[in-house]
């Protein structure tokens, strides 16, 4: 009687511990998400100012050539300056006018340049165009700079504040969805910086990793599990080494990549190609080990059945064993890839940490990767980069969640296919 009571109490206690630890884990996880999200959600908006731009023929094309090659050399910055001055006719003096123009992001002139390139006929006309505001203005509009603070404690002085409030009163300043963040590379100006460069860099590196490590990993696992002689010293040695490699700190793989791929084979520095190769060194052991486990778990009776109707060993393995093991193999691969996505140390070593403005066009172009971009931005004190750091973390998490859901989906699909 007593016995039963104490056993039940024990079970109840055990369940309680389990629930408590899961609750704690969920609490910490949601804390993480809440803090990242609350820091970062404003990064998905950007502040723009509407300017009435006069695409004056005098400035752009005084000789009426209509030739882009000539027009593109014009002073587009002047267009911005004229337009701002027109908006605030009372501002006088060179230094004040320069300060006034500073509320507009320096990207405005490039935006106008692109606009003229695509609409040559707009020369000689006027047009209302939304251009990016400077990052300090952006911060003020998003409420990260407190307007009530004494002037010397905020980055926007009273005069600038007056201008911005004037723009607000005329509805000439507003927040938009932050397209810049998703369509541009890194920049020294936070309002012009984006995640796309790092995202593409990661995508390229991961593609290389997948292309290299998936076939090699599976082939190795299949050979070792199904074809290699058992109780062979060499095979045992290889197996021990693969298991060891899985535990080697990733920075060592980076150093290996530096020594072999860069210094010996002289492959390009900072390139996703080399990054992917280094990451595949790291993911290979994971893929091999998880593939072997899932091959091993296929009941041998299935293979025997195939051999029994006269299938060759290769047929038995590839027609029957591998398909059954596939869900497990894919899960292992995607877990390995997800780890590679979050990895930064080996990429630092091979130089994928440079400040790169251009979006990489191929796997040999210099690039960074998502976790490195996060690291770089987090190292920058400006408020505009703080929110972008959080936003980049969100992008990385979404990418990870996507990959893991893909793993679940593929596993379900394969399991259904084989019944």
């Amino acid at each position: 009687m007593n016995n039963l009571k104490s056993r039940l109490a024990k079970e109840k206690r055990f369940r309680l511990y389990g629930v408590a630890s899961i609750t704690l884990a969920l609490f910490l996880l949601s804390l993480l998400f809440v803090s990242i999200f609350s820091q970062g959600y404003t990064a998905f908006q950007e502040t723009k100012i509407q300017l009435n731009i006069n695409f004056s023929e005098e400035i752009l094309d005084p000789n009426k050539t209509k030739d882009w090659e000539i027009i593109k050399k014009s002073n587009f910055s002047l267009l911005v300056k004229n337009s701002v001055n027109e908006l605030f006719p009372n501002v006088s003096g060179r230094s004040n006018k320069r300060k006034l123009k500073k509320i507009i992001s320096s990207s405005a002139e490039y935006q106008l340049r692109d606009y003229v390139k695509n609409n040559i006929n707009t020369i000689g006309k006027s047009k209302k165009i939304w251009v990016l505001a400077d990052d300090d203005v952006d911060m003020l509009i998003k409420g990260h700079i407190n307007r009530i603070l004494p002037e010397d404690e905020r980055r926007i002085d009273n005069e600038e504040l007056k201008w911005i409030e004037f723009l607000e009163s005329k509805n000439l300043i507003d927040k938009f969805f932050n397209k810049t963040f998703f369509t541009s590379g890194d920049s020294s100006e936070s309002e012009q910086s984006g995640i796309l460069g790092a995202f593409i860099g990661s995508l390229f590196a991961l593609s290389i990793t997948l292309i290299l490590s998936f076939p090699i990993g599976i082939a190795t696992a299949i050979y070792m599990e199904e074809f290699a002689p058992k109780n062979n010293k060499l095979i045992d040695f290889v197996e021990v080494n693969i298991n060891n490699l899985a535990a080697v700190p990733s920075i060592i793989f980076g150093l290996l990549g530096l020594a072999i791929f860069l210094n010996f084979f002289e492959l390009p520095r900072s390139a996703p190609l080399v990054g992917g190769m280094v990451l595949s060194l790291m993911t290979l052991p994971t893929i091999i080990i998880s593939s072997r486990v899932s091959l091993k778990s296929v009941p041998p009776s299935i293979k025997e059945g195939a051999l029994g109707v006269g299938a060759s060993k290769i047929q038995a393995v590839f027609h029957h064993v591998v398909p059954v093991a596939m869900p497990g193999i894919l899960t292992g691969t995607i877990i390995g890839m997800a780890r590679a996505l979050g990895e930064s140390a080996p990429l630092l070593v091979i130089g994928m940490v440079a400040f790169i403005v251009d979006i990489p066009q191929s796997v040999t172009d210099p690039a960074t990767a998502l976790p490195i971009q996060i690291y770089l931005w987090s190292d920058t004190p400006e408020r505009g980069f703080v929110e972008r750091t959080s936003a980049a973390i969100m992008v990385l998490l979404v990418f990870l969640i996507f990959m893991n859901s893909l793993a679940v989906y593929l596993r379900k699909k394969f399991e259904k296919d084989i019944g």
């Binding site: 025997e304 029994g308 109707v309 006269g310 027609h319 019944g419």
Partner: protein
């Protein structure tokens, strides 16, 4: 006789092993000559010789661990898959020594099919299970021929009516007895000459067992069948000849009737009367 005596006698008999009864048949399909099988150091089959006739059902009985499965697996070289297993001796199928290194096991295993102890359908559809063998051996030129082979095999295995509406369902969704008959259909789909069955009913309930036994009885019209069983009634019901194995020796072989009514060898008698299990 008490147990100790029995064991002593067993050892004596085994060291002087000579099979009792006539191991030869008039029209043999398989001739086994002096087969020895070792797992590493351990001798599992000791100098066994026997003929297996055309269109007969040969039952192999004996206490567990006596080497019935090992012997059966020699007949289609399934023992090749076990690394430590070494087979020597001669084994003729249609005048070809199949133990020869040069013999290709792929056509051999199509000729000598195998049904396993536990039903092991492929984790694919019922149709695919049966179609797999013909496909890899190129037995059908097109889908129509393949359909015909599959339907015929299912028919012969007595399964067609039960599964004709759900050929796309996974083979593993069938009941145990149906799965075993599916495995038999899979085996006969490649038109073997010999079918080996290793305790095909040991995982089945009595009703499913009865169905499979009935099927074996019908199959003997077209195939040579070697069946391992530990159920003596089953051997008595389905087979014409019975071979009794003991500790790797073929102790006695003879017409089933005779083995069960008037066994010649003491060990056979002890087994029949239930003294070892």
């Amino acid at each position: 006789m008490n147990n100790d005596d029995l064991i002593k006698e067993t050892e004596f008999q085994i060291n002087n092993s000579e099979t009792v009864g006539n191991i030869h048949v008039e029209d043999p399909r398989i001739i086994v000559k002096n087969i020895n099988v070792r797992y590493g150091e351990k001798l599992a089959i000791n100098n066994v010789s026997i003929d297996i006739g055309k269109n007969e059902v040969l039952a192999m009985i004996g206490p567990s661990g006596c080497g019935k499965s090992t012997f059966l697996r020699c007949l289609n070289r399934m023992n090749d898959t076990i690394e430590s297993c070494v087979v020597d001796g001669e084994l003729y199928l249609d005048n070809e020594n199949i133990l020869d290194e040069k013999t290709d096991v792929v056509p051999l295993r199509a000729k000598v099919g195998m049904v396993f102890q536990k039903p092991n359908p492929f984790p694919k559809s019922i149709y695919e299970n049966v179609a797999y063998g013909p496909k890899i051996h190129g037995l059908a030129k097109n889908k129509i021929e393949l359909d015909e082979i599959v339907f015929n095999s299912l028919e012969k295995a007595g399964l067609f009516n039960e599964v004709k509406d759900r050929l796309d369902a996974p083979g593993t969704s069938l009941s145990g007895g149906q799965q075993q008959r599916l495995c038999i259909a899979r085996t006969i789909a490649v038109s073997p000459e010999v079918i080996l069955m290793d305790e095909p009913c040991s995982a089945l309930d009595p009703i499913a067992t009865a169905k499979v036994e009935e099927l074996i009885y019908e199959l003997k019209e077209n195939f040579t069948i070697v069946i391992v069983t530990h159920a003596m009634q089953q051997a008595a019901r389905v087979s014409q000849r019975t071979a009794y194995f003991h500790l790797g020796n073929l102790v006695e072989v003879g017409p089933t009737q005779k083995i069960f009514t008037t066994p010649q060898h003491k060990l056979t008698e002890s087994y029949i009367t239930g003294r070892f299990g």
